[in-house]
Structures are given as structure tokens and as C-alpha cells.
């Protein structure tokens, strides 16, 4: 299966299929359906220094070919993760990326400093783009200087793979990718969810307690793909493509647009076995099309 191996910095992923943050918890439940040994990697739910309860219900609304979520970064916190979640993840032959969300640049750095000593962790994904928390999240994601500060701060405390997950809710995402590169980041993930909302027309209240939520799923795929392409055309940095992937064809499409790896999000809720189930399809596509290594697809889009 060497055909599918993909390297970013010094991390060799078995294949380009990763599971996206917030859509597989810490791997406990999903492992019953998706054989984690078969996939490139898993990204943890966003971790913060201390545990977070998350937002009150309602946290989820279905939309046309998509869903809104406003979970509010409910998570067990860094300490509990290291003690009780990481050992379980470490049992699998797959790469473990810790996603970190925080309320201040200092908290990002502090979380990373604590986690980077854990040898089972292969890299970090810095979430500067969660639309569902008051402090942190979007504010950082919309501010180039804040993204730079967070990236270089975290870079200072870890030599491991450093990915920054970008917000699509900006005018030019490639400016943010460039900022990440200039601040020492190794890669960017694109995209996090789009800001959206839904209102109950009888009560006239937003359906989500948090008022707005993040839109994910097939509905956003064309937008995600355009963001990946935009970054690839403007900045020389590896991109991890995310957004609305539900078929093997989608994975190939993201790679052609410029993605080195991809992440699966919402699809895990519907077909939790998709992650490992899709690997043979990718292999098949490569064989049929005489693609020696799947990474040759990355950015191979032919533009006029």
C-alpha cells in the first residue's frame, strides 16, 4: 500500500485519510466501525487547558445537504486527555494529531507545551477557527496578526508537525496560509465550518442555543474545494483538505485541487465505517490510472 503513503514534514501518513477534529471524539467509539490501523491518522476533538462543558442544547440542526453544529468545544481538557484518552489512541498504528483550541495565545502555547512531550502524539492542529465559542476561535481566525502570534508561539515550544486549521469565514484564506508559513507552521487545514444559522419560525428563536453554528457536510464541499485551490495557487505550503467529503471521488478531487491529505468530518456520523472502507477505492483509482503514488495527485489540477 506504499502507493497511498503521504508525507508532511517528517510525518509519514499511511494514506491521506484522516478523521477530522470534533467528529470522532478521541477515537473510542469510532474505532468499532473504522479500523484506525487502516487510516492515515486521527485528529482529536479540540482540546483546551481545562475541560469545557460545551453549549447547552440545542447543539445541532440539519440543513440541506449539511448540518449546523454549535457544540462549543465540549472537551475533557488536556490532563484528562493525556491520562485517559491518549493511551487508548496509542494502541493503533496510526498518526495522532492533537487539535488545540484556546482562549488566548498563551493558552495555545501552554497546551502544546504540555502535550508535545507525549511521544504518542505526532503533531498538532491549531484550531484558530471555531465559530462556536465566544472567547477564542473566530476572533483569532479573522485576524492575521493573531494567527501569526499563535503560530510562532506554538512553534517555539514544539518541533512536531504543526498544522494550523483555517477559517473559511474570511475574504482571502491564502493570506492566512501565508501568515502560517511565515510564522513557522508546517501545514494548514482548510476548512473549518462556515458560519450559519436557522430560526424556528413559530417561536422566532434561533434553533441553536448559541444562535449561530458551523455549517458542515456536502453542502460546503464546493466552497472548501475553492479554498484549497486558492491556497495552493498562492502559497507553497501543504494543505489538508476538509469539507463535505462523502465519496472516494471527493477525496481525489480535493487532492487534485491541492490537498496533501484530507479529513473526514460529518460523514463519520452517517457512515462511521467510511474512513477505513474508502481506502481500497483510493488504491483502486491509483492502480487503474497508473498513479504510482497518490501524492502525485496533489495540486495536479490543470488550469487554463
Amino acid at each position: 500500500m506504499k502507493e497511498l503513503a503521504v508525507k508532511i514534514k517528517d510525518v509519514e501518513f499511511k494514506n491521506p485519510v484522516l478523521l477530522a477534529s470534533g467528529t470522532v471524539g478521541y477515537g473510542d467509539e469510532i474505532a468499532r466501525f473504522c479500523d484506525l490501523n487502516q487510516i492515515g491518522g486521527i485528529v482529536t476533538k479540540s482540546l483546551s487547558l481545562r475541560p469545557r462543558k460545551g453549549n447547552p442544547p440545542q447543539r445541532i440542526v440539519e440543513t440541506a445537504s449539511g448540518m449546523l453544529n454549535a457544540i462549543g468545544l465540549a472537551n475533557v481538557g488536556v490532563d484528562e486527555f493525556v491520562k485517559n484518552k491518549l493511551p487508548n489512541l496509542a494502541k493503533y498504528d496510526t498518526k495522532v494529531i492533537c487539535n488545540i483550541a484556546a482562549s488566548s495565545p498563551e493558552e495555545y502555547v501552554e497546551c502544546t507545551r504540555i502535550l508535545t512531550t507525549e511521544k504518542e502524539i505526532d503533531g498538532f492542529e491549531i484550531n484558530v477557527s471555531c465559530p462556536n465559542v465566544k472567547d477564542g476561535g473566530l476572533e483569532f481566525g479573522n485576524n492575521i496578526d493573531a494567527v501569526k502570534r499563535v503560530t510562532s508561539g506554538v512553534r517555539n515550544v514544539t518541533d512536531k508537525l504543526l498544522i494550523v486549521k483555517l477559517s473559511p469565514n474570511v475574504a482571502r484564506i491564502s493570506d492566512f496560509a501565508r501568515a502560517v508559513k511565515e510564522s513557522g507552521g508546517d501545514a494548514v487545514s482548510a476548512i473549518n465550518t462556515l458560519v450559519g444559522t436557522a430560526i424556528d419560525i413559530y417561536t422566532r428563536r434561533p434553533k441553536l442555543f448559541n444562535i449561530t453554528g458551523g455549517l458542515s457536510g456536502p453542502a460546503i464541499k464546493p466552497v472548501a474545494l475553492a479554498k484549497v485551490l486558492e491556497i495552493k495557487r498562492n502559497v507553497d505550503i501543504p494543505v489538508i483538505g476538509i469539507g463535505g467529503i462523502t465519496t472516494w471521488q471527493d477525496i481525489i478531487e480535493f487532492m487534485i485541487a491541492g490537498a496533501s491529505c484530507i479529513q473526514l468530518g460529518t460523514i463519520n456520523f452517517i457512515s462511521p465505517d467510511f474512513g477505513s472502507g474508502v481506502i481500497p477505492d483510493l488504491l483502486n483509482f491509483c492502480n487503474e490510472n497508473k498513479i504510482e503514488n497518490i501524492s502525485h495527485l496533489t495540486g495536479s489540477v490543470l488550469l487554463p
Binding site: 470534533g22 467528529t23 470522532v24 471524539g25 473510542d28 467509539e29 469510532i30 468499532r32 466501525f33 476533538k45 462543558k53 460545551g54 453549549n55 447547552p56 442544547p57 440545542q58 447543539r59 445541532i60 440542526v61 440539519e62 440541506a64 445537504s65 449539511g66 448540518m67 453544529n69 457544540i71 465540549a74 457536510g217 456536502p218 462523502t246 460529518t266 463519520n268 456520523f269 452517517i270 457512515s271 462511521p272 465505517d273
Partner: protein, 251 residues
């Protein structure tokens, strides 16, 4: 729990807009407890995107049944299925009713389609324990008593049974029921709330099956929180429920 491509054995409209759907699965039949639920993909495309949760209604041999109402687009699609069609079913999910705890008399309280999980529960409650059922609805057309035995009815408009809601009916009747009682309830949140308020005050053990919006149904999305009674955080309806002891959560 697993995902299985099952075949639809039968689908019947038992009442206007209410359907009984049966599928065949040895695995599901052998592993499901009353009160658990299944997450069903009603189409093989993106519309609707998410699975739809339904309580197991009954298990008979290797046939599993669901009782459902046509509510929105998803259940509309489901209602149009035909015997022989494939159905993508994920389950059994969550925790069901605890029917082997220390009680002498079982009381079923169901509002509207809240009867759904009880036919199977009734089969499982030890035969030596008497069961009293109370079913309520807005009016007689919406009363569903599929598979329920020894039933007293209530309707808001008095068109059948007691005029009023099912909790009031139960309050009126409770003195006729002897022994250490345990209540199993399912229905709209307002009904559960008023029931639990009362049963807590008079100390009858109560288990409630709760509904809420769900994405995954098995604990990975954190989309279905319900507040713990001590307000220290949330439990997940899909994984920690959908059946809760009424003392565990703020309903």
C-alpha cells in the same frame, strides 16, 4: 451495535400517518433491549443527510419493528418504502429500560407516539408483575395503543377516555395500583417534566425515554446533551440514554 443492510418485511399504516415498519435481522433481534433505538438512513443519498433515530417497538423472532409518525421529509420517505426494499439500519444504540430492578408493579405512561418503545418492554417485564398502562393524546384520532395492554386512555378534548392529560389521569388512578411501583414513560418533554415533578415528590422510581436532535447517535458528535441533575455538565442522550432514571437529568 453495527450497521446492517436489512430488508423490509412489512410496512403498514396502523393509524392515519402512523406506520409500523418491520425488518428482518437476526443480529438486531438477538442484541436489542427495550428502550434502545436504531439510527436509520432513509435514503441512499444526501437527502436527508443524517440518519433518523427510532426506538425499537417490538422484537418477534428475528423481526424488529418500529412505530413511526410521518413528521418531516425523512419519515415521509420512510413511509413510502415497500416490502422487499433495502434499509440501512444502525444499532442497537443507547441504553434501554431497566425492567429487572426491584419493583412489584409496572406503570407505563405514554404520550402520543410515546407508546413506541413499550410493546417490546411489555414482553420483557416478568410475567408475575402486573402492568398498568396509561396512554394520552390530543384527541381520539391521535391515540395510539398499538401493542399496549391493560390500558387507560386520556385525551385533551375528551373524545376518548379521560378528558385531560395522561399525567392527571395517572394521578387520579394511582391509588388503585398496589405494590412497589416503577414508572416507565415516554412522550413529549412537557409531559415527562410534569410527570417527573410529581413522581419525584411522591417518590415513585421513574425511567424516562428522552428525545432530542441527534447527528451520530453513538457518542461522537456531542450533539445531544442533556443536563445532569447536579448541573455539573451534560450527559449524552444517545449514549447515556435515551432512557434515563428521572433523577439523573434535568428534564
Amino acid at each position: 451495535m453495527h450497521i446492517e443492510q436489512t430488508k423490509i418485511v412489512s410496512i403498514k399504516e396502523v393509524q392515519s400517518h402512523t406506520f409500523l415498519l418491520s425488518i428482518q435481522s437476526e443480529y438486531f433481534a438477538g442484541t436489542t433491549n427495550p428502550g434502545q433505538f436504531f439510527n436509520i438512513k432513509v435514503s441512499d443519498n444526501n437527502f436527508p443527510l443524517l440518519r433518523r433515530p427510532f426506538s425499537v417497538c417490538d422484537v418477534d423472532g428475528d423481526i424488529i419493528s418500529f412505530l413511526f409518525d410521518v413528521h418531516g421529509e425523512g419519515t415521509k420517505i420512510l413511509s413510502k418504502k415497500k416490502p422487499g426494499d433495502d434499509l440501512d439500519v444502525f444499532g442497537p444504540l443507547g441504553n434501554g429500560f431497566n425492567y429487572s430492578s426491584d419493583f412489584q408493579t409496572a406503570i407505563i405512561v405514554a404520550g402520543g407516539l410515546g407508546v413506541a418503545p413499550f410493546p417490546f418492554l411489555l414482553k420483557k417485564i416478568p410475567a408475575d408483575k402486573p402492568v398498568f398502562s396509561f396512554v394520552g393524546a390530543r384527541n381520539s384520532n391521535q391515540l395510539i395503543t398499538y401493542g399496549i395492554k391493560n390500558t387507560k386512555l386520556s385525551t385533551d378534548d375528551g373524545s376518548a377516555g379521560f378528558r385531560g392529560n395522561v399525567v392527571q389521569l395517572l394521578k387520579n388512578e394511582i391509588h388503585n395500583i398496589n405494590g412497589v411501583k416503577k414508572i416507565f414513560a415516554c412522550g413529549p418533554n412537557v409531559m415527562l417534566r410534569s410527570l417527573v415533578e410529581w413522581t419525584t415528590s411522591i417518590g415513585i422510581e421513574t425511567e424516562i425515554s428522552v428525545e432530542c436532535a441527534m447527528a451520530c447517535g453513538f457518542g461522537i458528535c456531542q450533539g445531544c446533551p442533556t443536563e445532569k441533575s447536579d448541573k455539573s455538565g451534560y450527559l449524552l442522550v444517545c449514549k447515556d440514554g435515551p432512557v434515563f432514571n428521572s433523577q439523573e437529568i434535568v428534564i
